[in-house]
Amino acid sequence: MNRVSGTAGTAGTVGTLRVRFFARYAELVGRSEGTLTVHLPATVSDVMSRIRDEWPGTAALPAQPLAALNLRHVRLDAAVADGDELAFLPPLAGG
C-alpha cells in the first residue's frame, strides 16, 4: 500500500489528525496520542502505514488493528478528513 504522501499529491489539500492509542497499544507505542498532518484523500490504512514508518514504537502494532474515527468503529479503508480523531484499539474486552 502506498503512503499517503505518495498518493495524494495532486489534490494538494492536507488534513491534521489527532491520533490516539489505548491500553496495550499505548504501552507498546510509549505514547497515548499524537498529531499528524496528511495529504488528502487518505484512508485509515494510509495513516496507519505512515505512522508505522515515522513514529517510533508503532512498528509493534499489528498491521491491521481495530480503528475508530470520530468515536465510531471504522474499516481500514474509511477516508479521513481534516480535524478527525483517529484511534487504534486493542482487542475489546468490555462487559
Binding site: F22, L71, P90, P91, L92
Partner: protein, 145 residues
C-alpha cells in the same frame, strides 16, 4: 447520560430506572470479575476505556435496543478503574411488558457491549503480575506479520 462509572455499580438503581407500571418482566445481567480455580489468582481487574467513544457507543447500543424492542426500558452502567474480584464490572436492566422481550433485549445489550465497547482490562494477580486480556483467546499479535 453517562454509562461509565468508577464507583461500585448498583443494580437497584438500574432497576428503579427501568421500573414502570406497564412492564411486568425485568431481566438483569451482572458481569463480575472472576477468580475461579482456572483464573490464576486474579485479585482485581483494571478497566480502562476510550471514554468519549465508550459513552457514544453505549448510547448507540441502547438506542438500537430501544428501536428493536420499542416497549423496552433499558439501563446500563459499565464500571472503570480497579474492580475487585466478585465485584460487578457491568450491570444491565431491561424491563418490558412481557418477559421474552426482557431476556432478548438484555442479552442483546451485553452481546453488543462485548463486541463494540472500547473498554480494556488488565488482570492483576496475587503474584504481582498484570496481563492485558484478549477475549478472543489468542495472544495479541504484535508487529507486522
Amino acid at each position: 447520560m453517562t454509562y461509565l462509572s468508577t464507583a461500585p455499580l448498583s443494580l437497584d438503581a438500574l432497576l428503579a430506572e427501568v421500573a414502570a407500571p406497564h412492564c411486568g418482566g425485568t431481566c438483569a445481567f451482572l458481569g463480575t470479575v472472576r477468580d475461579g480455580p482456572e483464573d490464576g489468582g486474579v485479585t482485581a481487574i483494571e478497566y480502562s476505556a476510550y471514554d468519549a467513544m465508550a459513552e457514544a457507543e453505549m448510547d448507540r447500543i441502547v438506542s438500537e435496543t430501544r428501536r428493536r424492542w420499542p416497549d423496552a426500558r433499558v439501563a446500563v452502567r459499565h464500571r472503570l478503574g480497579l474492580v475487585a474480584a466478585e465485584e460487578a464490572s457491568i450491570a444491565i436492566a431491561v424491563a418490558t411488558p412481557h418477559r421474552a422481550d426482557a431476556f432478548a433485549a438484555c442479552r442483546h445489550v451485553i452481546e453488543e457491549v462485548k463486541k463494540r465497547l472500547p473498554v480494556w482490562k488488565k488482570e492483576l494477580r496475587a503474584d504481582g503480575t498484570a496481563t492485558w486480556v484478549d477475549p478472543s483467546g489468542h495472544p495479541s499479535m504484535v508487529g507486522p506479520q
